[in-house]
Symmetry: C2
Subunit: 375 residues, 2 copies
Amino acid sequence: MNEDSVGIVETKYFTFAEGSRKLLLESGEKFGPITLAYETYGQLNEKKDNAVLIVHALSGDAHVAGYHQGDEKPGWWDDMIGPHKAFDTTKYFVICSNVIGGCKGSTGPSTVNPVTGKPYGLSFPMITIADMVNAQKELIDHLGIKKLLTVAGGSMGGMQVLQWVASYPDMIHSAIPIATVLKHSPQQIAFSEVGRQAIMADPDWGNGDYYDHAQPERGLAVARMIGHITYMSDQSMENKFSRKLKDKNYSFSFSTDFEVEGYLRYRGDSFVKRFDANSYLYITKAMDYFDLSEGKLFPDGKTVDARFLVVAFRSDWLYPAYQCKEIARQLKMRHCDVTYCVVNSTYGHDAFLLEIEEETHLVKHFLATTYKRIQ
Amino acid sequence: MNEDSVGIVETKYFTFAEGSRKLLLESGEKFGPITLAYETYGQLNEKKDNAVLIVHALSGDAHVAGYHQGDEKPGWWDDMIGPHKAFDTTKYFVICSNVIGGCKGSTGPSTVNPVTGKPYGLSFPMITIADMVNAQKELIDHLGIKKLLTVAGGSMGGMQVLQWVASYPDMIHSAIPIATVLKHSPQQIAFSEVGRQAIMADPDWGNGDYYDHAQPERGLAVARMIGHITYMSDQSMENKFSRKLKDKNYSFSFSTDFEVEGYLRYRGDSFVKRFDANSYLYITKAMDYFDLSEGKLFPDGKTVDARFLVVAFRSDWLYPAYQCKEIARQLKMRHCDVTYCVVNSTYGHDAFLLEIEEETHLVKHFLATTYKRIQ
């Protein structure tokens, strides 16, 4: 473990919306109890003005930095979070929670419904990005934080960042939406939908009621493979795989010929061991429903007194830069303080997890400036 | 039926590689008998120098123009083929055959193996684009044609065009590869592979042995949905669907919310009624194996005495223009007579079926000039 690691960490749990105090969801349904799994790193200072909320993407979780006891791999954005890193834990108190609807400790379709004693499955209510953020807000209240120094995240994390702007503009000093969009385009909805169809086509899915036997592994693996193609770029696939063969010659069979095929199969197979198929359905649907275009980013019509760092990546064709630019445009039209940056990366959408040096440079300076301004 | 239609047409059949005269496949296997389904329009002239071969894409067939008795829809490129159209049937004799491995009348995995009396299924040999072209060459010989005026096709059709250049350069006066590539990139292989995985994940596939019951409809539908996303562009999807809802409000369920979802489901469901899942596996594999890069387009090292019209489409991200341009570059390096054109279309890969006006303009002139030169 390096000196710049937050070290051994543990996931914590916060439960709310119990009894009659259920959470009102965007669908109109009231739901509870809700548990959020979360982790924190660094120390909340006395003024409680150094708190940073990290929000995760589709398949992410609360474990964003450090190591769980016995693990060899650190959290999913460990390169960005730790002593003297972009989100410097010697200065800032970093929080990350697993989204509602997820399967990494927060309440989701795989959670046991306390009323029936069985997993919710499809009786779990439909959730939206706003519901995810409303649940996070309960956690932030619980931690005694009135205003976040920043909320930051990529991909679906970026949607949650934007939802914080729309839902709780007075609770953020700044926001860092990365590789994200104001709304899913039909192409983005189409990729979500075909992933869902792959899962629901698997007989093992059984209308979501599969928790007493195996989950729909084959369907979920196909959904994940589709996802992985969209996370990489044409060029990054060329750089990584080209037409390299697993063996010397074509097999002239349907076994794995090309390295890229082996990679996709491996990615699909390993995903089904760590992710719940129903959560995949619920979370992709939340992403499709998300729409803060056409002024909905400022529902009360007022200007938001927060600073923004909007980051896009040149080769990201899943969430193309033109959609990120539209976020910056909307913010500028409301006279917000916005820095918009397109990073020259070949990694495609995955770049937000990989272009650490560039992101560190951008985020570190942005956070320091923001923190100085609020003193 | 319009005046510019070739009218009512019938599919014909040609059988070869019978008895001991089997076809040597690229895999080294010998295979036969082979039947090719084909159609012809217009008249072969006395000199037999006005023959045009049209080659089809992944899910195409021999029925490229005119109407089958009782049908309301014409062949798949009817806008391009007929009296006074791009491929003018008052001047040219147009031939189109279904590829070997297909399921539209040519011998493929769904064909009954005369030895066993059962459909081949996975005992069908692996085929390549070169095998498809070798089979077509038998048909062209059978029709008594020594040299084709042109061979033309888009997508996988374009691969066959290029394979004609490599395999039988002395049998073509010209070639028209459209929206195609010299080799599948890893991204293109990845999209093929995930479609195959979707089919093979369906328990109804049963290792390809499903012809006595239903075929793997759910898996094949998912494969086709993935395909359809890649055939359209971000912009053409935006133009056609945007975020339009089927009903007034979100359903807050996993039923169809967005029109684009309904479109994909419809496309998937209708495809399984007309296409064989095993053919989908064999043909996509043939496309992945295809590789005429690095000089393989000219295996004997000689210059080809043929004219070329290479057409790409600006918004085609499945077979991007830079790959088409590489075809033109390879041809020019051998001092071939090449016209390379990028059509300014928003339709994505589907453009080769839709940009009729532009294609007509290009093809008509190119064919007329080619025909004049050989007189």
